[in-house]
């Protein structure tokens, strides 16, 4: 009824407003696919590690050295994320392990759906360890759960030691921070590992930080030890017992 004269109201003018309280994560669709990916990994007893860093920090070099060190004991595969080219997947395949290249075009990060499609081309049943090398970027990858069990972020010593303070979201979501190219510390006076560690600690988590130098095999020790520790913590899952690995930080 119109309040002026009491006439009938036309359908066009009679609309009611509805206020819907939702309280739903904006990335809930991605998170559902990520949970699905994680189920795949768990079912096959595959430990999935999401490797993140800025471009050029040495993710692929670290993976190459890791494959050489571990391929006789563990079955490894790699998913490579880049805007363009399959150069990185080719580098990985040259070491005799399967690698799937995801080219994202203009997208600055991997998401759970992209990883899920790549999983269809991987022999998950025959794997122990899957590395997902994210697009080189310290901002966007932090927001997207892929279904990984562990987040590892590389900080190369050719960057600033205040990176954890500048990119708190990604560093706080990390289970391990790797100071890569650490063999260059002797000639790079500006980078102070203690300052990097303090900036990381200020993010409120007890995240370990280790040094690597992928081009010098002995310098990989702490990294390989950390991986072995994660793999041994992972093993019981493959035998159907309760997962010992919590959801990744920031998930």
């Amino acid at each position: 009824m119109c309040q002026t004269c009491g006439c009938a109201v036309t359908p066009e003018n009679s609309r009611t407003g509805a206020v819907i309280e939702v309280l739903q994560d904006l990335l809930s669709a991605n998170n559902q696919v990520a949970a699905h990916n994680r189920e795949h990994f768990d079912e096959h007893g595959v430990l999935a590690i999401n490797l993140m860093s800025s471009p050029g920090a040495g993710k692929t070099a670290l993976l190459e050295a890791t494959i050489v060190a571990l391929r006789d004991r563990y079955r490894i595969a790699v998913i490579e994320g880049d805007l363009e080219t399959d150069n990185d997947a080719a580098r990985i395949r040259a070491h005799g392990v399967p690698a799937i290249q995801i080219t994202t075009g203009t997208a600055c990060h991997l998401d759970a759906g992209l990883v899920h499609r790549a999983l269809h081309d991987l022999p998950l049943a025959g794997l122990d360890l899957l590395f997902i090398e994210n697009v080189g970027n310290l901002v966007c990858p932090a927001s997207f759960d892929l279904g990984q069990h562990r987040n590892v972020t590389l900080l190369s010593v050719t960057e600033g030691d205040d990176k954890p303070a500048k990119y708190p979201v990604i560093f706080r979501a990390s289970d391990l921070v790797v100071l890569s190219k650490a063999d260059l510390l002797d000639v790079l006076e500006d980078f102070d590992p203690a300052r990097a560690a303090a900036a990381l600690r200020a993010l409120g988590r007890d995240t370990p930080m280790i040094h690597t130098a992928a081009r010098r095999a002995p310098a990989l020790g702490p990294w390989l030890d950390w991986l072995e520790l994660q793999l041994s913590a992972w093993r019981p899952v493959a035998h159907g017992t309760r997962s010992m690995i919590a959801a990744p930080a920031g998930a």
Binding site: I20, L26, P164, I170, A199, L203, G204, D206
Partner: protein, 123 residues
């Protein structure tokens, strides 16, 4: 610029809700974005102004509510405000903290225009 992906996800959720409720249009969308969400509100707002075109939210307003960061300390138990890159306990300085607020990236509320059915108008 992952704000585009996030905005697409937002519009997808809103479209689903609008369809389920039989809405003719979406009038306002309210989201919560914390400083630790990894999302830049201004970029999300400009992505929204582009991506909303042609859909049920084409005329919708986007309200972005910012939240403050606060943490709980595992050491002393205090809850204190914090900065995005300084998440230690403000009371005891402990670094084992849990984020209580500040990492939200949430669709909070949708306001819809729902046409009254003709039958409801028949008196």
């Amino acid at each position: 610029m992952h704000e585009l992906s996030v905005c697409q996800a937002l519009l997808g959720q809103v479209a689903e809700i609008a369809k389920k409720r039989g809405a003719s249009a979406v009038e306002r969308i309210t989201i919560e974005v914390g400083p630790l969400s990894g999302i830049e509100p201004a970029l999300l707002a400009s992505a929204f102004s582009i991506l909303r075109a042609g859909g049920c939210a084409a005329q919708a307003q986007l309200s972005i509510e910012s939240t403050m960061v606060s943490v709980d300390c595992a050491g002393c138990g205090a809850r204190s405000p914090a900065e995005p890159n300084r998440l230690v306990c403000a009371v005891c300085g402990g670094f084992r903290t849990r984020i209580i607020a500040g990492d939200e990236l949430r669709l909070r509320r949708v306001e819809l225009r729902v046409p009254q059915s003709r039958s409801a108008l028949t008196v």
